[in-house]
Symmetry: C2
Subunit: 342 residues, 2 copies
Amino acid sequence: MGEERRPTLEMVARRAGVGRGTVSRVINGSSRVSPDTREAVRAAIAELGYVPNRAARALVTRRTDTVALVVSEPEERLFDQPFFSGIVRGVSAVLTDRGLQLLLATARTAADHERLGDYLSGGHVDGVLLVSLHTDDPLPDRLAGAGVPVVLGGRPLYPPRHPVHYVDIDNVGGAASATRRLIEGGRRRIATVAGPADMAAGQDRLRGHREALAEAGLPDAPELTVHGDFSHDGGARAMRELLDAAPDLDAVFAASDDMALGVLRTLRESGRRVPEDVALVGYDDTAAAAHTDPPLTTVHQPTERMGGEMARLLADTAIAEGPDAKPQAVVLDTRLVVRESG
Amino acid sequence: MGEERRPTLEMVARRAGVGRGTVSRVINGSSRVSPDTREAVRAAIAELGYVPNRAARALVTRRTDTVALVVSEPEERLFDQPFFSGIVRGVSAVLTDRGLQLLLATARTAADHERLGDYLSGGHVDGVLLVSLHTDDPLPDRLAGAGVPVVLGGRPLYPPRHPVHYVDIDNVGGAASATRRLIEGGRRRIATVAGPADMAAGQDRLRGHREALAEAGLPDAPELTVHGDFSHDGGARAMRELLDAAPDLDAVFAASDDMALGVLRTLRESGRRVPEDVALVGYDDTAAAAHTDPPLTTVHQPTERMGGEMARLLADTAIAEGPDAKPQAVVLDTRLVVRESG
DNA sequence: CCCCTGTATGGGAGCGCTCCCACGCCGGGG
DNA sequence: CCCCGGCGTGGGAGCGCTCCCATACAGGGG
């Protein structure tokens, strides 16, 4: 029942014996205020426990100081992965730093998606971070078209109608480094369990793999490439196909650690030793990778930095400079984590 | 630059040839409006692409329609776990349904924590969902003290000064079912790798384990209990201790799947077969559990439902009824997932 | 000694909405 | 036929803030 109201700027002003404008100036540090006045206002704020009302401020400034992180991938696929958690961590840190809030939005059904689009175009957020790994997501274009500042996590799969800022991880380079490692280990019949062809990450990792092969003058035999769905079981299945088509393979590059685990299982079931008979390199550097038997050599992705860069790009460029800012692409490097599997 | 302003309620009113009040009534469906008028207003809204301004509404209603999800655990520990992702999913779904927004807040440093407390007490959100697994977190009491509606995920470890709503998963029952399974399998020297003693989940799972033991008339030998930190390596370490102190044990209940993986590794290193020599049951039902060798018997937690219940409790009780609502506790059941390890 | 410039400050206007009071109109009962 | 009640509606007030114009005062130059 207390029903006591929070103190307002007006009350602070009266208490400090100044005008509202002055208090506002002190809070926003904008224009010059004499030291004495400033102190008096500060004291009044402290005594009253005053906290500015965001809604009131937003109403006049037309800025909400809120940024949405939209995960439009079926979350089942994304949330559990360190990929997502790293991004949240990085985003969160930078945003906090800038005094911005993080609104987390997920859309499962198409209706959700529709509503989310309306909402985000409605001016309720200052900008949107979009982690949308699939090609057919209409949200980026829709938001960009509505003039909402957007930064993508991961490169756009097709050239979008409205050019956008994005932050990506160098999947091509990362995959190349994985395959190169296999080549340097003396392997010659190197297979790959690639990711889904409709995801940029899947495409790029396959390309990196092929580049490394070409670099070494190794043929890119079609029977040595199978597509998986980034899952454990998908990896196991793909490996079985691979083994059927090319029983003499001596190495595998799996485009995700989850798939690598499936590969490992199938390999073991087939009686092959890792890395003696078949060397294996994964991708993602998940927690599990360090604990497999043998421990998995894999490619580490700077997910937290990715989140940080996304937030930075959004706040400092997309929002600050508006729709006329030149679209920027930030691409982050990976790091090969050498363990025992390959 | 376009700089075109979004349509306002006033513009809708003019276009529909009615007063602002009427438009507001149509939007909020509150009071009665004649069908004709309603249709006219709807049409005007559609034509203009009008979206209500949340800030303006919040200013007058003093509600923000925003709920914060606070993860005050070091995220390293929490984010990667399906536990967290399930909660987010459940929370998100219910909130969307209620027209509420999800503000995700994480606090790493003590300063963050302090600031977060100020922020959340400042009336910027209508309520707070708190997933804070540690005992020494001052946030719940602080917020409850400030009159902010709060729902905890996980039971409060100590009786809080301000009684709070919470949603918990039946850790005691879940652990008991795990240990009971071991007992029914004919095991008699059943060890446990317990969780941290300063977490409610850790305590409760240990208690459940002991209850099952007592139920079966089995002694609770001190050398059969070791505490781990919920991590893989922690589990491996704990298992080594256990093996030193009680080499004759014939079963292990690990209070988390991550720890169970470590246990599994140590067991294999010691030359013991699972489940022939030592049966093993884990807890959490992580993705990895299905793919270990042998596949891990474990306890599934309804994390998504937990998130949903938290959101529901917050929206329908804590916020709706205010601080005088009788504190409610919702406890959800677990499900034993029987695979091959025990 | 006055004017002009610049700095510090007060406070009106107004952001877009909801709340609520007041008003017009209708029909039924007296 | 008049009055009263109630429904449907219009619009003033005001939420708490920022913006900006106006004002006040202090100095320095003419």
